[in-house]
């Protein structure tokens, strides 16, 4: 096993174990604990095994190719500092697993807990071992996500949900900042490889983008390690199960922030910006956290604020940018992990055994659980910085560093005073923790008699407290080599000498310690009365609740502002959308054309008065149609027909007979179609609403008119410009020359449709088919407007008339109405069929073709429907339009595919002139079969659309019945059947 492989192994094992853990049964607490414990032991073992490799400042490195193109490979990199974290993660992890085995209730679904826990462990290991700064971000965010899941483990509790969400939001935001920061650093040094980055300190610090990069990296670090003003999420994360707090919020996750500061300390520290930002944030956090911790009534809250404060201490040290301060910071990272994890566990035991963590309700527990109390007291002492415990050592180093003379007199004064005050507060909250919980009278109103926890549950605390003691008494032979390895990997081989001895002689640091201890005791005594009142939250700044501010900001931004912005810059109405579309369609091309069109010469050559008159008519009809469309729909439709005819004549005028025919036919079908629809549109009557509304509508109309006018002018200019330009040398000559030679037809347009560009036609008929199917589908469950469910007024009046006249019966009027016309309409049926066949067959050589023929055929059908009614026609003709559509498509397709079977590309056509006796040369073009497909589809689709609409009239009496509130009296089953 090579060392580098071991790194991969150490990273993968937790994730693999997490998967396994997720699949274990709900109540497998022991199995889960064994699995997690083994994993942690394996990780710890690997770390211990690898220590010699990193002891002397060297690095174990493993690179796995992932995305070389992006400079993003998986690089696992273990140096002394990462090793220290690795041991914390696995070691504390192991202890927490053991603790959690007893802490978690049998009712809790443990697979989820251990799966998330192990995944978090893996993420943390990945983070500290990242040798690529993007990979570091990846694991960074993974720790945020897994911690989110762990905090929200008891998601039935609202505070767990809120706490989890807040933690994720804040740390996620920081992570995104970190990502950009890392990207900038990568851009500066030209690589994302951490080793390259660490070698480029000068380049980074002198780069113009240093400050933004620094700010973004700090955003990540400070949010993660809960530094002021991003601290507020941490206390609310205490809704997590205590093992999670002990692990994440003391030893690992919050430490990731300071890990990052340390990691980038060699390349980013040492500048004024770094000093001021980091130190200030750290100092503010240190004092604020300690102050707030004093006034917490929840044990875990107290510990959380204490954690914030200690992280502030570490941050302050790192901000000072001196190697010795960094040594102290690294040392305190380790020390804080030990005593804080043990304190969290102790708090958890109290909670677990007594059922509350409220200091106000707790008291005198020493007599019930003396052993646990002793452990907690020792750990608290370490937290307070009492000599002979590890906390004292690093705090002494801290004092020594802040006491160093600085050029800036303010700094010179502020740092030592702030540090001393914060230490004093630390003594106060430590005292409160110990005194408030373990001493005093017996607690009252407890449901069960408190007792010591199971021995194994206590064991992790014992081990941690032992570490506090051992390190505190004999640091030189316990922690020293490991600390040295860590320090060297950060500050480099030239790290100045530092002493770990307990006694440094009488110096300012010792004096500060003394002041803090004595002052702390006195302050606790002074505050005792106030604290005994049990008011939650720190005085003076009680109103400053990070959570409430955060939630208000989030609510304002994500709901209020977002909705307002969405409404302001978006719309759900159709008109503005179309307005914007057309506005852009005018503005963009106009901006490209302005002053680039060159001279447009107005030319009146070839002016034809007839054509001008025709277009005068066309324009008048169009404008009139536009004007009438709102209230006089039928009129608009009629006028539309006028414009259509002018369009059609224009096509003829400029040599497009196929277009003219098709336009005409479509025109007819469209008119019938819209009329069929018109029956279902109730009348519009002019309503005269209030003045303001009318005015608003008028303004809108004028605005639309202006845009419409501009669009028209634009189209005129563009169309005129192109029409008067030289024809470019294009593809069209090829078609004219080869339509007959290669396509076997003289109607070039038709040859294009069924041969040169048959693929377009295939798509086009598919569109028609699809639309027909859609229309059919929509109409199948059509619900007419309530006003139009009833028979049209005319029919009602006429039926009433028939009813009243004695010799008439209902329906006489309509049958008389159609008696004579229907005869002629029937006669036209064969005529139309002949016309359709004619247009179809001549299409290849003369204007016509499958499409025109198809429309003609469907008009023939529609005419019969108009003459005889739906029932009458369908009794006589069975039209299966969907089949027509399907077979049309298949036929067209088959022609194309047939070419493929003989080795040509799809849609290759063949044609030949066959000599048929008596008839002569007959063109046999495969394109004709394609056109037959077109014909079939067009018939099917058009008929389907129109008939589906027409069927609504037959359906509507049923719909009316359906809509009636009370059903018609139902015929009872035994009633005599009168009629069928």
């Amino acid at each position: 096993m090579t060392p580098s492989f071991l790194l991969t192994f150490a990273l993968l094992v937790p994730f693999g174990a997490a998967l396994v853990a997720a699949l274990l049964p709900q109540n497998a607490r022991n199995a889960e604990a064994w699995l997690a414990g083994t994993t942690a032991v394996a990780g710890l073992g690997i770390m211990i095994y690898l220590f010699p490799q990193v002891a002397n400042g060297s690095v174990v490195r493993q690179e796995i190719a992932w995305i070389p193109a992006l400079g993003l490979n998986i690089i696992l990199r273990l140096d002394g500092f990462a090793w220290l974290f690795g041991v914390l993660i696995t070691g504390v992890g192991l202890l927490v697993v053991l603790y959690a085995r007893y802490y978690m209730s049998p009712k809790d679904p443990v697979p989820r807990f251990f799966a998330f826990f192990l995944a978090f462990m893996g993420s943390m290991l990945g983070l500290v071992m990242s040798g690529n700064i993007i990979q570091l971000v990846i694991f960074w965010e993974l720790t945020s996500l897994t911690s989110f899941l762990l905090i929200g483990y008891w998601f039935h509790l609202a505070q767990a949900r809120d706490g989890a969400r807040m933690a994720l939001t804040v740390t996620g935001l920081g992570g995104l900042g970190l990502l950009i920061g890392m990207l900038i650093i990568g851009q500066m040094v030209g690589s994302y490889d951490l080793d390259v980055v660490l070698d480029s300190g000068d380049l980074i610090r002198e780069h113009p983008l240093y400050l933004p990069a620094l700010l973004l990296v700090l955003l990540g670090a400070l949010t993660k390690s809960a530094q002021f003003p991003f601290h507020f999420w941490l206390p609310h994360a205490m809704a997590a199960p205590t093992p999670v707090s002990a692990y994440l919020h003391s030893a690992t996750m919050v430490k990731a922030g300071v890990f990052l500061l340390v990691r980038f300390w060699p390349v980013m520290a040492g500048t004024d910006a770094w000093f001021w930002i980091v130190t200030c944030a750290g100092m503010a956090t240190l004092i604020f956290g300690a102050y707030a911790a004093i006034f917490q009534t929840d044990l875990k809250g107290l510990l959380a604020y204490s954690t914030i404060s200690h992280l502030g201490l570490i941050t302050t040290l790192l901000g000072m940018s001196t190697p010795l301060a960094t040594v102290a910071a690294i040392f305190h990272i380790a020390n804080h992990a030990t005593f804080k994890a043990s304190l969290f566990m102790a708090a958890g035991i109290i909670d677990h055994e007594i059922g509350t963590r409220d200091i106000r309700k707790l008291s005198g527990l020493f007599r019930f659980m003396p052993f646990t109390a002793t452990l907690a007291m020792v750990a608290s002492a370490a937290m307070a910085g009492v000599p002979l415990l590890n906390g004292f050592l690093s705090k002494e180093m801290f004092f020594a560093e802040v006491a160093e003379r600085d050029a800036n007199p303010f700094v010179n004064l502020a740092l030592p005073i702030g540090a001393t005050i914060a230490s004093m507060f630390a003594v106060v909250y430590s005292l409160r923790f110990v005194h408030g919980v373990f001493f005093g009278p017996k607690p009252e109103g407890l449901e069960k008699v408190p007792h010591e926890p199971p021995a194994l549950m206590r064991r992790p605390i014992e081990i941690l407290v032992l570490l506090c003691l051992v390190v505190g008494v004999i640091p030189g032979i316990t922690i020293a080599p490991y600390l040295a390895a860590a320090v060297v990997s950060v500050t480099g081989p030239d790290t100045p000498y530092y002493s770990l001895s307990v006694w440094h002689g009488w110096n300012l640091a010792l004096a500060m310690s003394g002041v803090a201890l004595v002052g702390g005791v006195l302050l606790y005594w002074a505050l005792y009365g106030y604290l005994a009142q049990g008011v939650d939250g720190p005085p003076l700044i009680r109103q400053l609740q990070g959570k409430r501010i955060f939630e208000r900001i989030m609510l304002t931004i994500t709901s209020k502002w977002a909705r307002r912005l969405e409404a302001r810059f978006g719309t759900r109405r159709l008109q503005p959308q179309l307005f914007l579309l057309f506005l852009l369609a005018v503005a963009l091309p106009a901006s490209l054309l302005m002053s680039r069109l060159g001279g447009i010469n107005l030319s009146f050559a070839g002016f034809d008065p007839v054509f001008a008159l025709l277009w005068a008519i066309g324009i008048v009809c169009a404008v009139a149609a536009a004007q009438q469309a709102k209230f006089h729909r039928l009129v608009a439709l009629i006028l539309l027909g006028g414009t259509g005819i002018v369009t059609c004549i224009t096509f003829v005028w400029f040599s497009a007979p196929d277009l003219a025919i098709t336009q005409l036919l479509v025109e007819i079908v469209t008119t019938v179609l819209i009329l069929l629809g018109l029956r279902w549109l109730p009348k519009r009557v002019e309503d005269l609403s209030d003045e303001a509304q009318v005015l608003k509508a008028r303004i809108r109309r004028y605005r639309d008119l202006v845009l419409a006018g501009l669009a028209g002018v634009g189209m005129t200019v563009v169309a005129y410009a192109v029409m008067t330009r030289q024809i470019p040398e294009g593809i069209s000559e090829y078609f004219l020359e080869n339509a007959y030679k290669l396509g076997g037809g003289t109607n070039v347009v038709n040859v294009m449709l069924v041969d040169f560009r048959a693929f377009d036609t295939l798509g086009e008929i598919t569109v028609l088919g699809i639309v027909a199917l859609t229309v059919f589908a929509v109409l199948r469950r059509f619900r007419p407007a309530s006003e139009s469910i009833a028979k049209p007024e005319q029919q009602r009046i006429q039926a009433e008339f028939d009813d009243r006249a004695p010799e008439r019966s209902q329906g006489d009027t309509v049958s008389e109405y159609l008696l004579i016309p229907s005869v002629i309409m029937n006669w036209m049926f064969p005529v139309i069929i002949v016309l359709a066949v004619h247009l179809f067959l001549r299409g290849h050589d003369q204007p016509g073709g499958g499409f025109a023929a198809g429309i003609v055929m469907s008009i023939g059908f529609i005419l019969q429907y108009m003459a005889g009614g739906t029932r009458w026609v369908e009794d006589r003709l069975r039209i299966l339009p969907v089949r027509w559509i399907g077979s049309g498509l298949l036929l067209a397709l088959l022609v194309g595919v047939a070419a493929q079977f003989v080795g040509y590309p799809f849609m290759t056509t063949a044609f030949q002139y066959a000599e048929i006796p008596w008839i002569g040369r007959v063109p046999m073009a495969s394109a004709l079969i394609f056109d037959l497909g077109v014909f079939s589809l067009v018939v099917g689709a058009t008929v389907l659309i129109l008939i589906a609409l027409a069927h609504q009239s037959v359906r509507s009496p049923k719909a009316a019945r359906h809509a009636a509130p009370i059903k018609q009296a139902e015929v009872s089953p035994d009633a005599p059947v009168e009629s069928r």
């Binding site: 005869v823 002629i824 049926f829 019969q864 026609v873 008596w918 008839i919 002569g920």
Partner: protein
């Protein structure tokens, strides 16, 4: 059997003529193809089952057509004059209720076509129960003259052809 293949011989013949006119050709191929198309068209009409008109004297149709042509030409000129006179002329237009003996739907259709196609007269409403038709006449000077014209010139001829 024959009726199934050729339900409307005259109509199919007409369709063949239509086909040949459309093709502008009398080639054998077109005649054959046209026959097929015409047969198909006849079958299509048969599917609709309209009343099968029984034409007794097909030759009289030509006589009728000539008659109509002349009348239409005359009316064209008459109506053109009325239009040119414009508002200055006195109102002569009016409705006319005409009793008919003709009952065959096809014959009625032909008559309605004739009357409406002739400028100056328009077929408005046929009452099947009573066999009367309401006609609007643009230049209704002599009501009886109109009735006579229609009844004697057209109806009698149509009765001959169709019944």
């Amino acid at each position: 059997m024959m009726r199934q293949i050729l339900p409307y011989p005259l109509l199919s013949l007409g369709m063949l003529a239509l086909w040949l006119l459309l093709q502008q050709s009398l080639g054998l191929g077109h005649i054959l193809l046209g026959t097929l198309v015409a047969l198909f068209a006849g079958r299509a009409l048969a599917a609709l089952e309209p009343d099968r008109p029984r034409i007794r004297k097909p030759l009289k149709i030509i006589q009728l057509m000539a008659l109509v042509a002349v009348d239409v030409l005359r009316s064209n000129l008459a109506v053109a004059r009325i239009v040119l006179d414009g508002r200055h002329r006195e109102h002569h237009s009016g409705f006319l209720l005409l009793p008919l003996e003709l009952r065959d739907r096809s014959a009625l259709a032909v008559l309605s076509c004739i009357i409406t196609a002739t400028p100056g007269s328009a077929w408005l409403e046929y009452d099947a129960m009573r066999g009367t038709v309401l006609i609007h006449v643009l230049d209704l000077v002599d009501e009886q003259a109109w009735i006579d014209t229609i009844k004697h010139r057209y109806e009698s001829l149509l009765l001959e052809i169709f019944q």
